[in-house]
């Protein structure tokens, strides 16, 4: 048995996670290249590939560089050393970037022009009149916020901020001969990058801010001649490694780290194609960056401005009709949530169904005189979050409010600190995360004193308590007052408050202590069933799959005859179609208008099927270094709803891409098949259900109000 297991761990059976991630970004890019998608939606997808890549650099590439620098040579799951991974990534990323820009230049720009939006690529192409306009714009809006910097013997090379867009120039003193000097100016991030130009014929014309600055750069260095000026952008190592044991006050430490982040080692330099050789050499030297880290860009640097471009008015015909999240038929507007939950568990499927009930859950709890306590974990919250406001209100109303605010949520720290302080001020008990662990679970507990005793209401979800992202991310949430789950929820918060673990769990499984074993057990059980001649079946949907132990278990199950269908949006280190290993496994990835984010796990378990949702992916970081929760959905009707979600996703023929044995992803060959889009189907269903409910309630009979309190 031991030897066989060893066999399943063979590096050949795995895909490197970074390369798999790049494939994911490629899949998004393929949406940007898909001619059947409205033009402005394609801009959005392209923008997402760019911001994803930025984050990937800052975290993943940076940490690989750290490993190489530290002389760490341990191989990954696919048998590659950090050095080998970097080399492989280098090639792939350059290809990805080239594809991004060829998409932008060859497909999107011409189409935009055809549809009446002209992007002026270079300031040289401006008409005289337009030139005057932008110069005027520069003087009144841009000039006052610029900070030009020059380098000479008395002034050192300036700090170039992480992710900022800059214009570098070589300048020469007007007066004497002198040498070439370096000067730079940051394109201010406070100003809109897209500047519309005045037009007369209804056509829209825009130019990017950096072009305007470049055109006027001589005004910044009056005593110099500008020899050349080019755009550049750098990316720095931003992986936060906080020494938690040393940091007496975690909050302060993170504040310190955020300031430090701008100073990390440069790992990527993007320069305009055709940059002056002398300027490039100088940047390379000063930033101490290797040739492989330099990207020569044929177009505007930092494509994330395309997200802003999406917002330009007047192009609705080139955008998807915005979808309005629907009311859950079980939760009519203005209902008393506690009453509804007492009738039975409620499943919410966002963004098809509105996130409002979750916000209302906390709002109603805050105002309810019978509510004793509210406890919640917050990972990423939106700016101006109504949830935070409700929690603060609850504390002011004299309820015991405990909130675990995860400060270690990457890139969100600044935001979180502000909210945490606000909550503390209101009288909430705020816990700033756990030493050594990220709290990624999404759970809310409301303790209510009712006539027949204390009752606990629990919300468990797969997505963050963020009303903004809940409109874009697909997630599921469960509202329940089952005692078994209520007890567990109480225990979860006791643990998060630093008390001992409970003597036992009823229904929930928690990472990092129990969850992995639970998953391995559930997968192993299917294997045993298959070996015993029963049907073995697993359907699992998640964002990423890269935990070796889980993959080994899946391979073992597959080899035993368990049929496994995986819906993995992002990274997948598992390979399909390996004879004797993974022939019974399929993997598909759905990249659509909404970001697939829910985690749902189905196990046939002989004839008594079990279905779970979780905040965790099958990744080591979720299973080993985070607090995560797996919860079962037990009510039959809701189980069927979840099964339906999985089923619809498996039927998708439009957005699904299937993992091939060679490691690539391919769209489904639709010849002879109906075109079916899972996300669209969910939208349609949610609207139909809400409409039906409305019809049921809005009869033609007037209902007089008989009782007023």
């Amino acid at each position: 048995m031991g030897e066989k297991k060893k066999g399943f761990e063979h590096p050949e059976y795995y895909t490197n996670r970074e390369l798999s991630w790049l494939l994911f970004d490629h899949r998004i890019l393929s949406e940007a290249r898909d001619k059947s998608i409205p033009l402005f939606e394609r801009l959005k997808f392209l923008s997402i590939t760019a911001s994803n890549l930025d984050e990937f650099f800052m975290i993943r590439v940076a940490s690989l560089k750290d490993m190489v620098n530290a002389g760490y040579t341990k191989c990954d799951i696919a048998g590659m050393t950090p050095g080998e991974q970097l080399a492989a990534l280098d090639k792939e990323i350059h290809e990805l970037v080239n594809l991004q820009y060829s998409t932008y230049n060859r497909s999107l720009l011409p189409l935009l022009e055809q549809n009446g939006l002209v992007v002026v690529k270079n300031h040289e192409a401006l008409t005289e009149k337009e030139g005057k306009f932008v110069d005027q714009y520069f003087e009144s809006n841009v000039y006052p916020v610029l900070t030009p910097m020059a380098v000479d013997s008395s002034r050192p090379f300036p700090l170039i901020r992480n992710k900022s867009l800059n214009i570098g120039a070589l300048v020469k003193k007007k007066s004497g001969k002198g040498e070439l000097e370096f000067a730079t100016v940051q394109v201010p991030s406070v100003l809109s990058r897209i500047v519309p130009l005045p037009t007369e014929d209804g056509e829209k014309k825009i130019i990017l801010l950096e072009e305007i600055i470049e055109r006027n750069i001589h005004k910044l260095f009056l005593n110099y001649d500008i020899v050349c000026a080019h755009h550049f952008r750098i990316m720095r190592n931003a992986d936060l490694t906080i020494e938690e044991d040393e940091a007496a006050d975690l909050l302060k430490e993170i504040e310190k780290q955020i300031r430090k982040r701008q100073w990390g080692e440069a790992i990527r330099l993007e320069v305009e194609n055709g940059m002056d050789k002398r300027l490039l050499k100088l940047l390379r030297k000063e930033l101490d960056i290797e040739e492989s880290g330099i990207y020569y860009i044929d177009g505007p640097l930092d494509l994330t401005f395309l997200m802003k471009m999406y917002g330009i008015e007047g192009f609705d015909r080139l955008k998807n009709k915005p979808y309005v999240p629907q009311q859950s038929p079980k939760l009519p507007a203005g209902c008393n949530l506690f009453e509804e939950i007492r009738k039975g568990d409620i499943l919410l499927h966002h963004p098809y169904q509105s996130f409002t009930p979750v916000v209302d859950f906390i709002r109603q709890a805050a105002a309810d005189p019978n509510v004793l306590a509210i406890k919640q974990t917050l990972y990423r919250v939106s700016g101006n979050s109504p949830i935070i406001a409700a929690l603060a209100q609850a504390a002011e109303n004299g309820k015991q409010v405990s909130v675990l605010v995860e400060l270690k949520a990457r890139f969100d720290e600044e935001n979180n600190i502000i909210w945490a302080r606000k909550l503390e001020k209101a009288g909430c008990h705020v816990i700033y995360g756990l030493v050594g662990l990220k709290t990624h679970s999404k759970i809310t507990l409301v303790v209510r004193r009712e006539e027949d005793g204390i009752r606990r209401y629990v919300h468990l979800g797969t997505g963050n308590y963020n009303d903004a992202t809940a409109k874009l991310y697909t997630d599921v949430g469960l509202l329940t007052c089952r005692e078994a789950i209520g007890e567990d929820a109480t225990a979860v918060f006791n643990m998060l408050s630093g008390y001992s673990e409970p003597l036992h769990w009823n229904r929930l499984s928690l990472a990092p202590l129990w969850l992995k074993d639970r998953f391995l057990y559930l997968i192993g059980r299917e294997k045993e069933n298959a070996l015993a001649g029963k049907e073995g079946r697993i359907i699992a949907k998640m964002n990423s799959l890269c935990d070796r132990d889980i993959i080994v278990a899946l391979y073992e199950a597959s080899a035993a005859g368990v049929k496994i269908d995986l819906i993995v949006r992002g990274i997948c280190c598992l390979k399909v179609g390996i004879p004797g290993v993974s022939e019974n496994i399929t993997v598909r990835s759905i990249v659509g208008n909404f970001l697939e984010h829910s985690r749902i796990f189905y196990f046939a378990n002989g004839c008594s099927e079990e279905i779970y949702c979780a905040s965790a992916d099958w990744m080591p970081r979720n299973l080993e270094r985070r607090v995560e929760i797996l919860f079962p959905v037990e009510e039959d009707e809701l189980k069927q709803e979840l099964m339906h979600i999985l089923d619809v996703q498996l039927r998708d023929t439009l957005k699904a891409q299937i993992l091939q044995p060679d490691g690539s992803y391919e769209k489904i060959d639709r010849r002879g098949k109906e075109t079916f889009c899972a996300q669209d189907a969910f939208c349609a269903e949610a609207m139909e259900r809400a409409e039906k409910k409305k019809e049921e309630t809005n009869g033609r009979v007037f209902i007089p109000e008989t009782h007023h309190e």
Partner: protein, 512 residues
């Protein structure tokens, strides 16, 4: 609906449970909060608690108080067990805690603590009743000591405290600096002697089938098996043996992880397991039941009982009396005479309720005193009072606190010896004035009851007792010669008169 918080300041853990009482006889646990804090190790070895530990204790208790407030509890009880009990400066520490947290911690004597544990088991109702139909031992494993309580025909008859608590054993093993491979053997050796003595003296040829275990380490394992089935909390001897084997395999922490027990508990789990293994072997028990209760359950149960929110069908008084009878039997007390004395003294007690104003509990003391009145004879016929006193003071009677036991022991002692008044007695007694008065009243009753049965022939068995003016009249229909009783009665009744200002009078109605 009422809510209540029970706090157990244990030797390795500070636990609080929140309970809800609703409807009839409904008690529900709502929250269970545990904080690991080792108070025992230090107290057992130095007798005191370091300042930082006191700080930690206060901080956690303050948090507990906030939690209580959040639940809007209607009441709370906080009890300290062996660690607080054995603390030399217990009063000072507890004073500080009150000052800083507002929480009053009362100290439980061992027998009170075990009685609460026992009550919490009994609160499990039907299963408990079924288990104790067969020979049963309750093994209550604590940090400082373990308590073995023996059942005979559905009543608890004897209880013994053995100072081999898990924390104490761990401490001793640490000080021996033994190799890990020797640990199991060491534990076995340490506990073997004590357990076999227990078996020899108390078990004799009783047949023990069931073990009820109350602890923090084994119980979760036992309870975790068959959860949700009707076998929940039960493990057969075979299953337990399998568990022991798994513990012996090389990778212990791996096993512990799989069993779902926290890493920090490994060493205490091992000690508990070895301990239990020895007990299972020694008693040859067939079934282990872990009701999964803790002291907190007992505290809540007691509170609910006092507030009349719960009624239990198990008769705990019967247990206390059964215990007393077992002690009497052990010291070869005269059963017949004890019964006569019990009957007589209780009749006197009942007939003068208005005068003494004592209640049910005091009646129980008197009954126990009557049962144990002559246990000292086993040692010496001359020094009967003192010997009886010592025997009672060194024998645990589950359900009686230390102070109550002393009260009973004093009643028995002064039944035989001259009464010592409070002013002198208080020099080396822990009885307060109220308890002293109770003791004096009961002594007076026992003394005349004893006097009426001087010849040990139960001549006054059917005496009618009545109260008339300032006289307490004993009317006997007996044809026996009662000269002896009459003769000694005057002397015996002196103290009675002094206490009650009543004159006991004997009237014999002879029928020819």
């Amino acid at each position: 609906m009422k809510t209540f918080a029970a706090i157990d300041v244990g030797s390795y853990e500070l636990a609080m449970k929140i309970f809800e009482f609703s409807g009839k006889n409904k008690m529900r646990e709502i929250d269970h909060i545990r904080h690991k804090i080792d108070l025992g190790t230090e107290t057992y070895s130095t007798g005191k608690l370091r300042c930082d530990k006191v700080d930690e204790l206060c901080n956690v208790l303050k948090e507990y108080k906030e939690i209580m407030q959040a639940y809007k509890v209607d009441g709370y009880r906080a009890y300290g067990t062996s660690a607080i009990r054995e603390m030399a400066n217990s009063a000072i520490v507890r004073g500080q805690i009150v000052q800083r947290t507002g929480i009053h911690i009362d100290v439980l004597s061992n027998s009170e603590q075990r009685f609460l544990d026992y009550k919490s088991i009994a609160s499990k109702g039907e299963r408990f009743n079924r288990i104790i139909e067969k020979g049963t031992v309750i093994v209550d494993i604590g940090g400082g000591s373990i308590q073995m309580s023996l059942f005979d025909k559905d009543a608890l008859v004897s209880t013994q405290n053995l100072k081999i608590g898990v924390l104490r054993i761990q401490e001793r093993i640490k000080s021996m600096n033994a190799a890990p491979s020797q640990t199991v053997n060491l534990i076995e050796e340490m506990v073997n002697a004590q357990i076999s003595v227990f078996k020899k003296f108390y078990l004799k040829d009783r047949d023990i089938e069931n073990i009820i275990v109350v602890d923090d380490y084994l119980s979760p394992w036992v309870a975790g098996r068959n959860r949700g089935t009707d076998k929940e909390g039960l493990a057969s001897r075979e299953e337990y043996k399998q568990f022991m084997e798994q513990l012996h395999v090389t990778n212990r922490s791996e096993f512990v992880r799989k069993a779902g027990i926290s890493e920090e508990a490994v060493s205490l789990l091992l000690i508990s397991a070895v301990l239990m293994n020895r007990i299972v072997d020694m008693l040859d028990a067939k079934l282990i039941w872990a009701p999964g209760v803790s002291l907190c359950d007992g505290i809540a149960y007691e509170y609910a009982e006092q507030k009349k929110m719960l009624i239990c069908d198990h008769d705990f008084e019967k247990d206390i009396l059964a215990c007393a009878k077992t002690i009497s039997k052990r010291y070869m007390g005269d059963k017949k005479r004890a019964e006569a004395l019990e009957h007589l003294s209780l009749s006197i007690f009942d007939s003068m309720k208005k005068i003494h104003g004592l209640g049910k509990r005091e009646r129980l003391y008197l009954q126990i005193a009557a049962i144990l009145h002559d246990c000292g004879k086993y040692i010496s016929l001359i020094n009967l009072g003192e010997c009886s006193y010592n025997i009672i003071m060194s024998t645990e009677i589950i359900g009686l606190s230390h102070a109550e036991r002393e009260l009973v022991a004093d009643v028995v002692k002064f039944n035989h010896e001259d009464f010592v008044y409070y002013e002198d007695l208080s020099k080396d007694s822990s009885l307060d004035k109220d308890a002293y008065l109770v003791m004096a009243k009961l002594t007076a009753i026992l003394k005349i009851a004893n006097g009426l049965d001087r010849s040990h022939k139960q001549k006054f068995k059917n005496a009618k007792i009545s109260l008339k003016d300032r006289e307490l009249i004993f009317q006997v229909d007996s044809q026996d010669d009662i000269t002896l009783e009459r003769g000694l009665f005057a002397y015996r009744s002196q103290f009675f008169e002094e206490v009650y200002n009543l004159k006991p009078v004997i009237r014999q109605k002879k029928t020819f």
